[in-house]
Symmetry: C2
Subunit: 178 residues, 2 copies
DNA sequence: AAAAATATACCGTCCAGATGGTATAGTTAA
DNA sequence: TTAACTATACCATCTGGACGGTATATTTTT
C-alpha cells in the first residue's frame, strides 16, 4: 500500500507542476520537491521521466474509465446511458479533468506513444456511444461538443461562462432524450 | 520583402518541427537548420525563443482571422454566416489547422501569455457567432463540436473517419439553416 | 561624384547553467 | 537480514543566447 500511495502522490505532484508551471518546468527535481521526496527516491519509483509521464497517463486513463463506466452502470435508462455518462462526467468532474489536462500535455510533449491509453479510452467510448440506441451522428456531435469545452479549457483559449455552460449542458442532455 | 518572407519561412520551419518532432525538439539550432539559416541569423530575426513562438502565434492568428472573415463576407446569406464560416474553414483548411496545432502547443509550453492573440480570436468569433441571427446556444454547440474535432486531432487522440466526418459536417450545417 | 558612415542581414563559436540519469551510501520496516 | 525506500554527490550532455565578425546595400557628408 505504501508503495502505491507514494506513487500516486508523485503523480499528483507531477500533474500539479504541469498545470501550474507548464511542461518545461516538469523536471525530476521539481517533481521530487513538490512530492516531498528526494530525486533519488523519485527515480526509485519511476526510473525515468518517460516512465513518470507514462504513469501519469495510465493512472488518469484508468480513473476516467472507471468513472464513466460507473456512471453508465448506475443509469436506470439503457438508451443513451453512455453518452449521458460521458457528458455528465466531463461537465462535472473538474478535478479529474485537470489531471487529464496535465497528462495529455505531458504525454504529447514527451512522447506521443504515451498517449496510447487515452486513444484506447476514446475508441472504447466512441463505440459504446455509437451502440447506445440513439442516432450515432447526433451522439457523436454531442460528444464532440463536450470535448470542445474541456479541450478549450485545457488550452485556456476559451472559458464558457457558467450560465451558458449550463444551458449547453441542458440542451445536450435534452438531445440525448429526444 | 526579403525580410518578411524570411521571417515567414522561419515560422514555417518552427511549425514543422513542432508537428513532426514535438515541442522538446523545438530548439533554436533545429529551427535554424530546418530554415536553412544559421543560429545567429535566426536570432537576428527573432531575438529569443519566446519571440519566435510569439511570432508563430501572431502569424497564425492573423491568417485565421482573415480566412474566417473573408469566408463570412462572401456568404450571400446574412443569417448564420459566421458560424457557417467557422465550420467551413475549420473542417476544410487542413494545412492552416496544422499551423494552429503547432502554435498552440508551442505557446502553451513556452508561456501561456503568448496565447493571448488566440484568446482574442475566440472572443471575437464567439460574439460574432452569438450575434448571427440564430439561437446562440445552438450556435455555440455547433462551434464546440467543431472545436472538438480539431482539438482531438491536435492531440492525435481521436481521428474521426472521413465518412463520419462528412455526416457530422452536413448535420451541423443543416442545424445552422433550420 | 567620391568617401565616409551607417544599417541590414546574416554567420559560427563559446559558455554558464540546467537537466536527466547514475552511483553509492544510508535508513526504516517486516 | 533483507527488501523497500531515501538522500546526496556527481557527471555528461544539451541549450539559449551573447558575442564578435563579415558582406552588402543605403544614406550622408564633403
Amino acid at each position: 500500500m505504501s508503495r502505491t500511495s507514494r506513487k500516486v502522490e508523485i503523480l499528483h505532484a507531477a500533474s500539479k507542476i504541469v498545470s501550474q508551471k507548464g511542461i518545461f518546468n516538469l523536471t525530476l527535481e521539481a517533481v521530487a520537491l513538490e512530492a516531498g521526496i528526494s530525486k533519488g527516491g523519485l527515480l526509485y519509483h519511476f526510473p525515468s521521466k518517460e516512465e513518470l509521464v507514462k504513469g501519469m497517463v495510465e493512472h488518469l486513463a484508468n480513473n476516467y474509465r472507471e468513472k464513466i463506466a460507473g456512471n453508465a452502470s448506475m443509469d436506470p435508462v439503457e438508451k443513451g446511458k453512455w453518452i449521458r455518462a460521458y457528458v455528465d462526467v466531463t461537465f462535472n468532474q473538474v478535478y479529474a479533468n485537470k489531471d487529464m489536462h496535465s497528462g495529455l500535455l505531458a504525454a504529447k510533449a514527451v512522447n506521443s506513444d504515451l498517449l496510447d491509453p487515452i486513444r484506447e479510452l476514446y475508441t472504447e467510448w466512441q463505440s459504446s456511444i455509437e451502440d447506445d440506441g440513439i442516432d450515432p451522428v447526433k451522439a457523436t456531435i454531442i460528444r464532440l461538443a463536450t470535448d470542445g469545452i474541456w479541450l478549450a479549457e485545457l488550452f485556456d483559449i476559451y472559458h464558457i461562462g457558467d450560465e451558458k455552460k449550463d444551458m449547453v449542458y441542458k440542451t445536450l442532455k435534452e438531445w440525448v432524450d429526444e
